[in-house]
């Protein structure tokens, strides 16, 4: 190959690439809605002039008219030039020297990491095959070592891909494959940056932690939407909005499938007889299969025969309501992870918590009884509003006719003789002034 050929090679290659790309694939239509990266021309611009098929057809336009509209002769000089010269170049082959050099460095690093992964996995295999009695620490040492090695491999898997620009791009476009550790890692990092902090703050400021659970650290991203509207944690919601069960948008960040239970409970039910606040179960579903690739869980569809969500419904949705005059009710949504391979008996749960059992619900006992770990949390608040009475009537919930008023405490001051002008003129002698002196609240 001559020197001149060597020089021209990348250009020729890119041109060839462009030609093949245009022939084999007329246009790549990628719907990118959530991208923060700058859009690239290869996705929208086209190498060929506008085709008839590209234009939405209006009944008024005849094909001839359309052909004229789309002809490459129409438009500014710049447009025509752009139409004539744009080619399709894939993201990895963008002809920027710095970019390509950087890619080389990253690739080297990746190969290094992959080699390390291979070495570590071999080490794990060897260790697994080894007899623990030969080791100084015995079985415990072996288990500990294995766990640490596996953790290291997981870290290496993330490190191998974390610097890849295409990985970053795909993640930001929302196209990341959550079954891969690197995308899970990125998603977790993004969640921890803000949403997790908000949830932790809500748990603290609404006293979820001492009131409902003594200790709780959320590890699952749970977002909630009613009627398609995403609600922020702790928001006051109208009782008509919360009449139907919400849809949860959940993201778990650790690998593998599992079964989860979902609980929605009210922790501020006033009980005037005992003068204490009690709890009420508003919803309980169990055995819902979940993994990192799943995102949407419409609570309405859990347990329905045609539902794709799977799982069993133990306690159906009861609309959130608060009687008039009662302070706001915290409606908390808890995601509880079941032990691996353990299925809960939905009928038993129904017996326990449905009907009259709703009022006796406590999350702590539920967690302990069925060996669950709370992992996700979200919450909304509800108050009496103008629609609550209707909602309660529609769902045959009693208690809409009650209004709570503040308890009145007798003053601790000792009674004193009334003083002043009015007090002096209370006698029948001043009967003509009674209209001014008799109707005074303080006397």
């Amino acid at each position: 190959m001559s020197r001149s050929q060597q020089v021209a090679r990348p250009i020729v290659r890119s041109l060839q690439q462009g030609r093949t790309a245009t022939t084999c694939q007329s246009r790549s239509i990628a719907a990118r809605q959530f991208s923060s990266t700058t859009s690239r021309k290869d996705e929208i611009t086209r190498a060929e002039p506008l085709k008839l098929s590209d234009i939405p057809i209006s009944p008024q336009w005849t094909p001839e008219q359309l052909a004229k509209l789309t002809s490459p002769d129409l438009g500014s000089r710049r447009r025509r030039a752009a139409l004539a010269t744009t080619t399709h170049v894939p993201f990895e082959q963008m002809p920027y020297q710095c970019f390509q050099e950087a890619r080389k460095v990253l690739n080297e690093d990746r190969q290094e990491k992959i080699a390390q992964i291979v070495a570590e996995t071999e080490k794990i295999k060897r260790l697994e095959a080894a007899d623990p009695s030969t080791m100084r620490g015995g079985e415990a040492y072996k288990e500990k070592r294995l766990a640490s090695l596996r953790k290291h491999v997981e870290e290496l898997k993330i490190l191998a891909d974390i610097n890849d620009p295409s990985v970053k791009r795909r993640f930001e476009d929302g196209m990341g494959d959550m079954s891969k550790p690197v995308y899970r890692y990125l998603a977790n990092r993004r969640w921890r940056a803000m949403d997790h902090k908000i949830i932790v703050q809500r748990i603290d400021q609404f006293h979820i932690v001492p009131d409902i659970l003594p200790k709780f650290e959320p590890t699952v991203d749970v977002k909630m939407s009613f009627r398609g509207q995403v609600v922020s944690p702790g928001q006051f919601l109208d009782s008509r909005v919360t009449e139907l069960a919400p849809t949860l948008r959940m993201q778990v960040f650790d690998k593998g499938g599992r079964l989860i239970s979902v609980v929605v409970m009210d922790s501020d039910v006033p009980d005037t007889e005992s003068d204490l606040f009690t709890r009420r179960c508003h919803y309980l579903a169990t055995n819902i299969p979940w993994d990192p690739t799943k995102t949407q869980l419409p609570l309405r569809l859990v347990g329905s025969p045609s539902g794709k969500t799977g799982g069993e419904l133990a306690v159906p949705w009861l609309p959130a309501f608060a009687q008039k005059g009662s302070p706001y009710h915290r409606m908390s949504v808890f995601i509880l992870e079941q032990k691996a391979g353990e299925k809960l008996d939905a009928t038993k749960l129904q017996e326990l918590y449905d009907g009259p059992g709703r009022d006796a619900f406590t999350l702590k006992s539920f967690r302990d009884k069925f060996n669950l770990t709370p992992v996700g949390f979200n919450l909304f608040r509800t108050e009496w509003d103008e629609n609550t009475a209707d909602v309660m009537a529609r769902h045959a919930i009693p208690g809409a006719d009650i209004e709570f008023r503040h308890q009145h405490f007798k003053t601790l001051k000792t009674p004193r003789a009334a003083k002043g002008w009015e007090a002096k003129r209370q006698k029948p002698k001043f009967k003509s002034l009674w209209k001014y002196t008799k109707r005074i609240a303080t006397l």
């Binding site: 336009w61 008219q65 129409l74 606040f277 009650i402 209004e403 503040h406 405490f409 601790l412």
Partner: protein, 382 residues
Amino acid sequence: MHLIQLRRPLQRVAASSCRQFAPVLRPTTTFSERFAQLRINSPTCGAAVEGRRYASVKSQGAYKITNKKTLPKKLGAKKTGDQYVIPGNIIYKQRGTIWHPGENTIMGRDHTIHSAIAGYVKYYRDPQRHPKRQYIGIVYNKEDKLPYPVGMARKRKVGLVPTVRKEIVVDQDAIGPSGIPYSVTRHEEIDVAPLMEGGSSKKRAALLADEEPTVFTNGNSVIAALIKQKIRSRQQQEVKKEELRLRLEEELTARKGTRILRLQKDYSYRESNWEIGRLVGDPGTIAGTEKVWSRKAKLRARRKKRNLHFLDYKTRALAKNDRRIQYKKFVWDKRIKMAAARAERATADIEKKAAAAVANEAKTKESKTKDPNKTDTKETKA
């Protein structure tokens, strides 16, 4: 009032007129001097009329302004530990936060600690919360100790009394218990000038009818069509605005025509005062009812209005942008769908054609192979 007091002004006038003669004799006096003498409280006449004067201001040292700094502030604890309190009771008055509000207590504007519940006062420290601060809290049971152990559910009481909820009935009975209506509505016939005979609607109809398919001869015609469309839509909008204005006017006239007479306590029927006032027109619309504002107030109002306008402008612009984005998305989706459909159709066509071609080939082959057979059969038949 004493007679002497009543007589005083007259006496004064008399006195001043008596003294007039002397200056008249003196030619050198000026006008100002003469007017000074005419003044009622001129020093020359006052002493003679009023007699003896007493001190109206106390002499020095008789009173002094009380020193606010030495006034007792009455700070300190108003309730001791374990004492029963009810909501709102003051527990501690202080300057600054000597004591901090703890469990079930509220701190006021001047750092006064109030109780928020009915219970027993506890003075305590909570090193988990803050290493140095001292707190005042209230507990429900006298035996309880503060602070409560970490991780324990909060102790709360409802403190509410259930009562029957009163439905706020907006629509009252039309007839009172005494059998006469609470209000009487009187519709007065008012001569209203007839509206333009459906002028606006006619105009609008004409505008709508005007729409005709545009012919696209070149790129400029597209733009011309767009401009035309824009102009038409603007005209339509104007027509709509005009219609709205007319409707509002009609409503106002109708309102002026109807009068609601309400039953009063003395069983008379009359309109309420504000309604009578509104008959002339809404406040601000009648000449002379505008508020007379100070210069500053005017400026303030103007600024507010301007800000409002700009805020509104921003929201409008954002809404428009949203609409634009939505429309673009819609168009883009539609295009993608149509392209997909077209591609499918094309592939189907190609497949069909291919199938047809294959079938044709097969037919021709068959016919080629069958021909000798046919002849054979014919031969055999023959």
